[in-house]
């Protein structure tokens, strides 16, 4: 629990799937390094006592350096370090790769508060309610400076940047209230940019959810915005269709390809000329400065809700009739792994049949 008063504790709460695994690695490090430290300490104390100077004019026998010893105490630490590296890196991959079917929460950081929005539109400030046992993926962006979303009990931390999304995920394993800290210095009230994460049993979470009047889900607002900005005049006509884009690999006009994650979609809105889809002319203007961060986020949410090409269009919010439709549990976005190859081979970029690129 946040604020538990025992001042003599040495370990923080452990309340996420990854936490005990991080603690295990810490334990190994503590053991290995503690042992080496102890050996060095004992040797120093022994030598200092045993070989203390007995007379001012004492001249000890000459030092005999041994290359074999040098090699031994270079190679053995190197081996131990490589083990530490492997363990830390392997765990880090799991730490960064969200589990399938994770519930997505939008996090917006600003000086000096956390704004959070659930997929159903429920908003929270400086507080995040999550169900125990279900993976939660945080899609985070800052409106001003760099912040960092840190939940010690979950052993997770990720900087929150202005201008691009960062992601992290966790599965809460124990109900309770846990600290949420901003861990990247962000100005005067940095130390007050704190909140709590409330992990609840699924039933309690559903009850909590029912008690909160939801805002419009971001994907629905995004759909309305998509219509009002006239995006559909090109996208789906002469421009690239957006259905199924999110999570796919997009071929670009310069011959490279890019994984269409949140940051790609965002960049394509605020700075369209940066990456041009192969086969299309660079006609889309940049929307930087014309849309608020929140509007961009809604558009990104809408594009994401269009899902993979395979998912039926019936689950998509319609740009014409902005009916609040939350994403059904079955139609999760494709497994998103930042910086990893996409989980599936999604090159089926569905350009409408017969559409011609601009001459």
């Amino acid at each position: 629990m946040a604020g538990s008063a025992n001042p003599f504790r040495l370990l923080p709460d452990s309340a996420s799937g990854i936490a005990p695994r991080v603690d295990a690695l810490t334990g190994f490090l503590l053991l290995a390094t503690g042992l080496v430290t102890l050996i060095v300490l004992v040797l120093i104390v022994t030598f200092v006592l045993k070989y203390r100077r007995r007379s001012e004019d004492e001249v000890p026998p000459a030092t005999v350096s041994r290359v074999s010893l040098e090699i031994a105490w270079s190679a053995i630490p190197l081996g131990i370090f490589m083990l530490m590296f492997y363990w830390g890196a392997a765990l880090y991959v799991d730490l960064r790769r969200p589990a399938r079917g994770a519930m997505e929460i939008n996090v917006t950081a600003k000086q000096w508060m956390w704004k959070l929005q659930h997929p159903g539109g429920q908003r929270e400030i400086n507080e995040l309610h999550v169900p125990v046992g279900r993976p939660v993926k945080l899609v985070m962006i800052s409106q001003d400076v760099i912040h960092s979303f840190f939940v010690p009990a979950f052993r997770i931390k990720q900087d929150v940047l202005p201008g691009s999304y960062t992601m992290q995920w966790f599965t809460a394993t124990r109900a309770g209230e846990y600290h949420l800290f901003c861990a990247e210095y962000c100005g005067t009230m940095h130390s007050r940019m704190i909140g709590r994460v409330v992990a609840m049993e699924p039933a309690a979470y559903q009850a909590w959810l029912a008690g909160v009047t939801p805002d419009e889900p971001p994907a629905v607002s995004g759909a309305r915005l998509f219509a009002s900005l006239g995006c559909a005049q090109c996208h789906g006509q002469n421009g690239p269709t957006l259905a199924g884009v999110y999570g796919s690999t997009v071929a670009l006009s310069d011959g490279s390809s890019v994984l269409a994650d949140e940051n790609y979609v965002r960049e394509s809105i605020v700075n369209a000329p940066a990456k041009i889809v192969a086969g299309f002319p660079p006609v889309m203007p940049s929307y930087r400065g014309q849309l608020t961060d929140e509007q961009v986020e809604q558009l990104v949410a809408y594009v994401k809700s269009l899902g993979a090409a395979a998912s039926p269009s019936a689950t998509r919010p319609s740009p014409d009739a902005a009916v609040p439709v939350t994403r059904p549990v079955g139609a999760q976005p494709p497994d998103h792994r930042p910086d990893f190859p996409p989980a599936r081979n999604a090159t089926d970029y569905d350009r409408p049949a017969g559409s011609q690129p601009h001459p």
Binding site: A2, G3, P7, R9, L11, P12, L25, T26, L29, T33, T37, V40, I44, F47, V48, Y51, R52, R53, R54, D57, V59, P60, A62, T63, L69, E70, S74, M84, F85, G88, A89, Y92, V93, R96, D144, V145, I146, S148, A153, R155, I156, K157, Q158, D159, L161, G163, S164, H179, A183, E184, Y185, C186, G187, M189, H190, S191, R192, R288, D339, F340
Partner: protein
């Protein structure tokens, strides 16, 4: 041992020393003598250390209570920023290279001065000039960005004196570059006859490695800070995502300098310890070539690990892994040094004089700081502890437990050489003990605080962290006493201390073959080196006031052993006085 002719001048300060040759203020402010410039640096960095230390004291007092009622959040943020800026750029970086390095590099290699004495003085003026800028920023209201100046907070949001502070660091950076340049050229060109690379004291090796980093890394910092100022003043948007810039670019550039800067702070400290341990165990250092080579290895690999400061900053998974791997790699040469120092003690003749207490304290604290660096290199653990007090504890163990302990150890070791006076040994030992205890009490609880999740740079914190913070503040007050004590007894020794004689520790090394304080030209005659460093096994039982390396008459200059160019005899600035 080679027989050398008896030198009647040896150890007899019949001629003026570098201190007694002139007394006017201008003889100090316009000096080109590396020894006097070293003292100018010592005075300047002691003043800066006091400013940084007072800031730290107020911070620790404010952290006594969870709500930090002693200071306002604005004040607290300015305090930790100025503490970091002053301690890093105006104390730690110049501490050993510019004070002990300046004093000792020519003495240890048998030269009369640094290669460029005027440049040496100019670098001190640049340092002080830069310091004035930064201090004036403090006086005008301070700066609240943290010493890391992360964008876009520093470039677009902070409304404090960022440009003024950064200008001070920019200027002081040139002082670093010039000092580095001077050390490199001095070691390359001015070694006395017979002083081959394999005979160089390890202090020279580590300062040489440091100088290479100073010359290569500092320009990157200058460029980065210049970009920051351009962005802040002209709103170009280099680091501002609202204008298409990239805030992470700043972090990459900043750490490309600032991680090597960590080695600028610790490598010379390792050099000092590599001098103290052989002297007080009367043993040639174990594995000389491995200790020397590990300095070079650290200097090279140290340039490739900057990304480990950014594991949670938005770096790719693969990028993180590469930096994690390299960070583990750079730990190996440090481990090699520790094992070699420990092995040097084996079958030695160990005397626990004050400098040795600092050296052993250094090993203990450096090991604890070093192994916690492994926790931070293990990338999954770093995610949890980065930006918490764990990191604060880690780098204070390295920089304060390591560098400051070694600096103080070095000051105590060479104080008799610098001033010609002995301080009271009992006072030195007591201060060293107090510093060791106070340091551990201050910073060990911070490891626990960090793993519990207390973020750094927090003016106020949840109640559950109260007890450990009180412990840390209690330790800091003990530490403060430990730092003030040497100031008193060292100054006392200037007037009342007994004369030290040329070699009070019976140490090997060229600097101990000349009188204390040394004459303006360092050596009456150009020394000729005939054996390796730390030849303690060849020490005569009568003591080493008859050091084996006795300066030969200059006329014997034909007896060079390795064809090394000698120091330039005509370059003495005192020759016209």
């Amino acid at each position: 041992m080679t027989t050398v002719p008896y030198n009647p001048d040896y150890g007899r300060p019949a001629r003026p020393t570098y201190l007694s040759i002139a007394y006017r203020v201008s003889s100090w402010l316009l000096t080109r003598d590396h020894k006097r410039i070293a003292i100018l640096y010592m005075i300047a960095i002691t003043l800066f250390f006091t400013v940084g230390g007072v800031a730290a004291t107020i911070m620790r007092l404010s952290l006594m209570t969870p709500d930090g009622r002693l200071t306002l959040p604005e004040t607290y943020n300015r305090l930790f920023t100025i503490h970091g800026v002053i301690m890093v750029w105006f104390f730690l970086i110049p501490s050993i290279p510019a004070v002990l390095g300046n004093f000792l590099v020519p003495l240890m290699i048998g030269a009369r001065d640094m290669a460029f004495p005027r440049l040496n003085l100019a670098s001190w003026y640049l340092f002080v000039f830069g310091g004035c800028f930064t201090i004036s920023a403090l006086v005008l209201g301070g700066v609240d960005t943290g010493w890391t100046f992360y964008t876009p907070f520093s470039s677009s949001f902070s409304n404090t004196h960022v440009v003024l502070t950064v200008a001070g660091i920019f200027i002081a950076g040139f002082s670093s570059i010039l000092t580095g340049l001077n050390i490199i050229i001095t070691v390359n060109k001015l070694r006395a006859p017979g002083m081959t690379w394999g005979r160089l004291p390890l202090f020279i090796w580590s300062n040489y490695a440091t100088a290479v980093i100073l010359v290569l890394a500092t320009p990157v910092l200058a460029m980065t800070l210049a970009l920051l100022c351009i962005d802040r003043v002209f709103h170009v948007g280099i680091f501002d995502p609202a204008k298409g810039g990239d805030p992470l670019l700043f972090q990459h550039l900043f750490w490309f300098y600032s991680h090597p800067a960590v080695y600028i702070m610790i490598l010379p400290a390792m050099g000092v310890v590599s001098e103290l341990i052989p002297c007080f165990s009367r043993h040639r250092v174990f594995g000389y070539y491995f200790v020397a080579g590990s300095s070079i290895a650290i200097a090279i690999v140290g340039f490739l690990v900057w990304g480990h400061h950014m594991f949670v900053a938005g770096m790719s998974v693969y990028g993180g892994m590469v930096f994690s791997f390299l960070s583990f790699l750079v730990a190996v040469p440090s481990a090699i040094k520790v094992f070699n120092w420990t092995a040097t003690l084996y079958r030695g003749s160990i005397s626990l004089k004050t400098p040795m207490l600092y050296a052993l304290g250094f090993i203990g604290l450096f090991v604890m700081g070093g192994v916690t660096g492994l926790f931070l290199a293990a990338i999954a653990v770093d995610v949890h502890v980065t930006d918490t007090y764990f990191v604060v504890a880690h780098f204070h163990y390295i920089m304060v437990g390591g560098s400051v302990m070694a600096y103080l150890g070095g000051i105590h070791f060479w104080w008799p050489k610098i001033t010609g006076k002995l301080y009271p040994e009992w006072a030195g030992r007591i201060a060293a003990g107090i510093i060791f205890l106070g340091f551990n009490l201050t910073f060990f609880p911070q490891y626990v605080l960090g793993y519990l999740g207390m973020p750094r740079r927090y003016h106020a914190y949840p109640e559950e962290f109260h007890f450990l913070n009180v412990l840390s503040t209690a330790g800091a007050s003990i530490l403060a006493v430990g730092y003030v004590l040497p100031l008193f007894y060292l100054l006392w020794s200037l007037r009342y201390g007994p004369d030290a004689g040329p070699n009070p520790w019976k140490a090997m090394g060229l600097e101990w073959t000349t009188s204390s304080p040394p004459p303006p030209q360092n050596f009456e005659r150009t020394p000729i080196i005939r054996e390796e460093a730390y030849a303690y096994d060849r020490m005569t039982p009568q003591g080493s006031d008859n050091t084996p390396i006795i300066p030969l008459p200059a006329a014997a200059g034909g007896a060079r052993e390795s064809g090394r160019p000698g120091s330039r005899p005509e370059s003495s600035e005192w020759s016209d006085q």
